[in-house]
Symmetry: C2
Subunit: 335 residues, 2 copies
């Protein structure tokens, strides 16, 4: 049975991650984690006739490999939780359309991987399901044209801008079995400090990550020193620095055990990605490759996975709205 | 503890709906349910400077009234589940931005009210929360310009088209207390029979409603005669007729106890809405007014609420994709 400590829900049953997969594009394959992905597509179209369909192909591929690694068939999965950045979630919807599993669509922008992972684990702990599946995705080309400019326009990028990861991650959670385990979930509240620069998402999301981490540390009476890794989703260079500063003001030093998926997935010195990677696919593919690999091997013990989302749309930005941020936290333990 | 029967999850703890509210626009206020709404805004802008902000205002208002009727404050709600039709869910996100409750964003298009209601009830039954909140919305003007044409264009409407409801519904679910109760949830799978006409959503969604209802009847060994009302979300005239036909082919007669929120909310003979109402706000405002009123008074006993969603986007339609449908079912009992 789940136990509540303030805003944090402890999961004493420790649901297990039985299988996971990360499928990416060429640029991600050329980055530091290249060897750890399940599949690298050389072609940005992944054999499809549009980038949106290509993103769906990434999702379908990741789900299929995750199921296979978990040695489960779709009819054994009680629910799946999926989300992406595209209008009306079409990347994941069309990606899982032919996989016959009851579906909960979710949206937390780039925080969707921790929302879906948290829901998967909570459903298992609450006895609502025996097996659950999470999947999220993003694609540089679909995101650019939807959120910013047509690619053909060749718009200049600012130093605070981030590069949307082309990739999908999927994982399967179960009550029993061998694999990394999930011990706590802290669901984020919306925080909006008035940032309006859509080319500086890290700054919009850092306060939410700070709030969720502070809440978790306070609820569980822990601090950064109790964890081997504190991993945000896609704050990038600017947002990560801000998060450190915000926490330092509260007397919390993240020290050397902090990392950000957006800074791990690319070689920031050589891959021309400005402030790092971003997108639902960023935290999803980093989690579902190196991080879960290290939790599986025991190289990592206790990890806090804190994906952040910027809950804006181009329409909201054009109407002068600021960018609300959210961050959901999931505590993972090594096998 | 929840009990599983096939794809259906029974909730023996019978979570209760403690408070609910429906807030609508003028056209909805002039319809047959006008007397039962909590607030009717005469102005389509609801005092805001854009229709998107107006839709957020509807959400904020509905959530505020639902909390007040439940006699609860935001800090007593462990989680809220919200969703709408706008790109990146901005109507609900900005509507609840200032309400400090941990947030799970969801997306099932027009099925979002049954997804959020189902999640609220499942979280209570699984011991994951003491109080949960659901809210969804739509607005005729935001939906028209996003999914179809600028309003100023004055596009012709086909006889199969539906009128997006301007309204928001919100409700609060709890383990204890007096109110209509929730007894079962059947989460839908995606069904796509190849319909490509974005002006005929009812036809795209009817097969999903048929599949979910058939699954529920089979799982629970019940039939339409066991319920006082079987209520779909926004199939409209065309989709409702199709649903009846699809079920008749399987030997199931919906009889006189079937209704559709899209046909209840407007006077179809006099309000010029073609095949009826649609949108997240359609099922949300009908559920959170007349239906819950009648469950509250005991006038209705057992009700199946089956909101359906068309999981498409304009981009997907332009790329030649067919329209996947989904339907989530929630069984409600009168007080």
């Amino acid at each position: 049975m789940p136990q509540r400590l303030g805003r944090t829900l402890l999961l004493p049953g420790a649901p297990k991650i039985l299988g996971y997969a990360a499928v990416v594009g060429q640029k991600e394959g050329e980055g530091p984690l290249g060897q750890e992905f399940d599949k690298i597509y050389e072609d940005t179209h992944m054999g499809q006739d549009s980038w949106e369909k290509a993103e769906s192909q990434l999702v379908q591929h990741a789900v299929s490999v995750a199921l296979s690694k978990a040695a489960l068939t779709p009819d054994q999965i009680h629910y799946m939780f999926t989300g992406d950045l595209l209008n009306q979630n079409v990347a994941t919807t069309f990606g899982v359309r032919d996989i016959s599993i009851p579906l909960f669509g979710v949206f937390s922008a780039c925080a969707s991987m921790s929302e879906t992972l948290g829901l998967c684990a909570m459903f298992i702990e609450g006895g609502l399901a025996d097996h659950t599946l999470a999947a999220t995705s993003s694609h540089f080309c679909t995101a650019e044209r939807q959120f910013r400019m047509p690619l053909e326009y060749g718009g200049q990028r600012t130093s605070t801008s981030q590069w949307t990861v082309t990739g999908a991650g999927a994982l399967v959670v179960a009550r029993e079995g061998a694999g990394p385990s999930i011990h706590a979930v802290t669901v984020g509240k919306i925080l909006d400090l008035g940032i309006k620069d859509a080319a500086n998402m890290g700054a919009a999301m850092a306060p939410a990550a700070c709030d969720t981490l502070m809440t978790f540390f306070s609820d569980t009476n822990t601090g950064p020193g109790d964890f081997d890794l504190i991993l945000t989703g896609d704050l990038g260079v600017v947002g990560s620095r801000l998060l450190r500063e915000l926490l330092e003001r509260e007397g919390i030093d993240l020290g050397t055990r902090y990392a950000d998926c957006g800074m791990l997935i690319y070689d920031l010195n050589h891959q021309d990605v400005a402030a790092g990677g971003s997108g639902c696919g960023c935290s999803a593919t980093v989690l579902c490759s190196r991080i879960l690999n290290k939790l599986n091997s025991g190289e990592l013990g206790r990890v806090l996975f804190v994906a952040t989302g910027a809950l804006m749309s181009p329409t909201a930005t054009q109407q002068g709205q600021s960018i609300p941020g959210i961050a959901h936290l999931v505590e993972l333990h090594g096998k």
